[in-house]
């Protein structure tokens, strides 16, 4: 069925996933108890893994500039809190972000390929990716063409990712599967494997524009695909759940999921990111609470 020789590997990677089992396992890991010093460490680690994101039509230089400040120095008076991993913006705001973040170590990620729908010709998408890289994006977050994938045109998905990867050059490629539209875990696993075979550096759950976005079970399915792909090929691929991760508890559950599925090696911003906007302040609020023993009002934390 798969004409592409690279996709012959697919069946040997066992695509079947049992939904009930995945949900049970994800819930079990989410039940881990992370308290005291390990909670503080988790909060810092989570901050360092955030792709601080704004993806709205009304985004402006002012908004992005402010967000970049927050990305560099998340909490006033707390230098022990690391900066976030990256900011994630639309192509038109790459330059603003780039100059605001210069020398900070915070990367600039841009969405591309007719984000969020991906419904435009492949040629245009490749062109767009070349453009965003040229504008200075360190990382590119692409979307796969879900329509083609759902039609069973896996070869198209493979070639699409492959072409975009090539257009990325030195920039790093995160492939958004939009799991909320793929719907089944079998589809998610298959799309994960195809993306990795085609050269993804990261696989990512969602655009944040479709519900459900990131969930623990869907992330578990993708992490297991990453593990199997690593065992099969030796290649290390990163993971990025995005959308809907709002609380510290959520974030810690994701860290537990990574730790217990892929191991400590993956617990680094190089290999694990969380795409979020409101998560950061909840992490900071919990951090302050761990320090002082009391919760502070949300008004003590700047929005950007």
């Amino acid at each position: 069925m798969n004409m592409n020789p690279a996709l012959r590997n697919l069946d040997s990677l066992h695509p079947a996933v049992d939904e009930t089992g995945v949900k049970e396992r994800a819930a079990a890991i989410a039940g881990r108890s992370v308290k005291k010093e390990s909670k503080v460490a988790a909060i810092k680690m989570a901050v360092s893994m955030i792709d601080l994101t704004t993806l709205e039509g009304k985004d402006s230089a002012g908004k992005v500039h402010a967000m970049c400040q927050k990305a560099k120095f998340p909490l006033e008076g707390a230098p022990e809190i690391p900066h976030v991993a990256a900011v994630c913006v639309y192509p038109n705001l790459i330059r603003t972000a780039k100059s605001a973040l210069e020398g900070s170590g915070v990367k600039v990620a841009s969405v591309a390929t007719s984000f969020p729908s991906g419904q435009s010709p492949m040629k245009l998408k490749v062109e767009e990716v070349r453009k965003v890289v040229q504008m200075g994006a360190d990382e590119v977050d692409m979307v796969i063409s879900r329509g083609e994938f759902l039609e069973g045109n896996y070869d198209y998905t493979f070639k699409e990712v492959q072409a975009i990867k090539e257009a990325c050059g030195e920039a790093h490629l995160k492939v958004i599967l939009e799991t909320g539209e793929l719907e089944t875990f079998d589809n998610v696993r298959r799309a994960s494997l195809i993306s990795m075979l085609a050269g993804a550096d990261f696989i990512k759950t969602s655009t944040g524009k479709v519900q459900p976005a990131a969930t623990l079970p869907v992330t578990l399915v993708m992490l297991e695909a990453i593990r199997d792909f690593y065992n099969e090929t030796g290649k290390i691929i990163g993971m990025k759940p995005a959308g809907g991760i709002k609380t510290t508890k959520d974030a810690i559950s994701y860290l537990c999921l990574v730790k217990e599925t892929l191991g400590d090696m993956w617990l680094t911003p190089d290999l694990f990111r969380m795409g979020a906007s409101s998560l950061l302040n909840d992490l900071l609020m919990q951090y302050r609470k761990e320090q002082s023993g009391v919760y502070q009002s949300a008004e003590y934390f700047t929005n950007d």
Partner: protein, 503 residues
């Protein structure tokens, strides 16, 4: 161990591309879960537990210590019921049956049982902590399985108490009288609930004996009965050893015996009641086949294997102790199993993150060790993950054997510990033959993505419970029990009611 900050400044955060990584990475940061022990402050335990007979605490001559298998420290003392005590308990139960319980309307019986369930629910945390301290099982399991399921059984059978004629329409039936119940140490509270709830719903009175190593939660249950105002003598609770059990079994006024435990003791009981009119239900040992077909969802099957054999340290009669893997996927399954074993957390049962707790007793540890040694001696390949076990207490690493044949001792005898035998098969037919080639028949598991295969296999496997694409799932509405030497009679569901009635 806690998270160590990266020593170098996080300046270089570049994502190296998909190829090899790890070269030049700074010292690896390790993030660990801090110890998270469940508090034991709220539990109330006495130093010494007398027998619970006729609604009162009754002293006896001998007492024995019950210890925490994770620390070897004594928790309390429990009474060792003698033949005289057993007689007293049976007479109390008989009196309560004749004078009170058989005259109590079914609706009233239901009220008592509902009340028991609700009080248990209020004390759920205390029950869970004591169950874990006395038996060594992870607090995670006693909180999410033992206690909720136990009270679910009371709720379920409370509902049936006044609806028995709808359960068995057009049939004449009556309660039995005094029933004797003997339960094991692996799920003390849960097994008590399985037995007491249907017995009471059907209008019987009870003499129940806990296992030697785990008497405490049953005595806590006695306190619940007192609080619920259950009439004196309706449930009498004893602790003791084999002689206590024998006295219950042989007492002429006990009309029915419900036993859960080893096949060996089950056979002894059957011998001693042979020729009497006593009714029997036996829930005995097992050596369940957990069958993984090549089209199975493998990662979820791995969880099923883990849950099947390492749940409650493998002290589970329906544990999936024989793993049958289709040969085409054997390598990948063994590889994934090894990987998964590494993330199992063995240690303090009261820690909320512990996956595998302590072995229930020194005796059981000895038995497991002996059987595992026999496996090694017979040439099977043993795998155990690296993990540090606590210095005190009874512990056994989660283990599995490969290169196992049906004829090996470890593949035939019930180990009742965290030890799995991995066997292989080539075709579904062979899997069925091998799964059934045992004297036991309590449970089995089948993993395949194909529904038609599930139905074919389930019909062919001689086991009381067959799970598909899951394992160790229990529900009060679902009957549980065995084929062959795994016993007879069913507990749970309508079938479980039937065992406590005369038709």
């Amino acid at each position: 161990m806690t998270f160590r900050e990266k020593t170098s400044a996080p300046a270089d955060r570049s994502i190296t591309s998909g190829g090899s990584r790890g070269n030049g990475t700074a010292k690896k940061a390790v993030w660990e879960y801090a110890p998270s022990a469940e508090s034991t402050e709220h539990i109330q335990l006495r130093d010494r537990y007398d027998l619970f007979i006729n609604g009162k605490w009754v002293k006896t001559r001998k007492y024995f210590p019950t210890i925490n298998p994770a620390t070897e420290e004594k928790i309390a003392e429990a009474a060792w019921a003698s033949k005289v005590d057993v007689n007293r308990a049976v007479l109390a139960a008989e009196k309560a049956y004749n004078n009170v319980w058989s005259k109590t309307s079914p609706k009233e019986r239901a009220k008592y049982i509902f009340r028991i369930a609700r009080i248990m629910q209020e004390k759920a945390r205390e029950f869970a902590v004591i169950e874990t301290m006395d038996g060594g099982k992870p607090i995670k399991e006693s909180k999410s399985v033992d206690v909720p399921l136990a009270l679910a059984h009371f709720f379920y059978y409370a509902g049936w108490a006044d609806k028995l004629k709808y359960a068995f329409p057009n049939q004449q039936f009556s309660s039995i009288g005094v029933v004797g119940q003997i339960i094991p140490w692996n799920f003390p509270l849960l097994m008590a609930a399985w037995k007491i709830a249907p017995a009471l719903a059907c209008g019987n009175t009870v003499v129940i004996k806990s296992a030697e190593t785990t008497p405490l939660t049953l005595y806590k249950l006695a306190e619940v009965f007192q609080e619920a105002g259950l009439p004196d003598g309706v449930v009498n609770i004893l602790s003791g050893a084999g002689d206590t059990g024998a006295a219950i079994v042989n007492h002429p006024k006990v009309k029915k015996i419900a036993f859960t435990g080893s096949t060996e003791v089950g056979k002894l009981i059957m011998r001693s009641v042979a020729g009497t009119s006593k009714k029997l239900t036996m829930e005995l040992g097992g050596k369940a086949a957990n069958i993984i077909m090549e089209d199975a969802p493998i990662d979820q099957a791995i969880e099923g294997i883990i849950n099947g054999i390492y749940f409650n340290q493998g002290h589970v009669c329906c544990a999936g102790s024989r793993l049958f893997v289709q040969e085409s996927i054997k390598q990948i399954v063994v590889k994934k199993l090894k990987h998964r074993l590494k993330s199992l957390r063995v240690g303090d049962p009261l820690d909320k993150n512990t996956d595998v707790g302590a072995i229930n007793s020194k005796m059981q540890l000895k038995k497991i060790t002996e059987l595992v040694n026999s496996g090694v001696d017979e040439g099977c390949t043993l795998y155990q993950p690296e993990c540090r076990l606590p210095d005190k207490g009874f512990w056994f690493k989660p283990s599995f054997f490969t290169n196992v044949a049906q004829s090996n001792r470890i593949a035939q005898e019930e180990i009742f510990g965290p030890v799995l035998s991995v066997l292989t098969f080539r075709t579904p037919k062979e899997a069925i033959e091998k799964a059934n080639n045992t004297q036991y028949g309590l449970s089995a598991g089948i993993w395949t993505d194909k529904g038609s295969k599930i139905f074919k296999m389930v019909g062919a496997i001689k086991a009381g419970v067959v799970w598909s694409n899951t394992y160790n799932k229990f529900n009060p509405a679902s009957p549980f029990g065995g084929y062959k030497e795994s016993g007879f009679g069913r507990e749970g569901g309508l079938q479980g009611l039937k065992e406590y009635l005369n038709f």
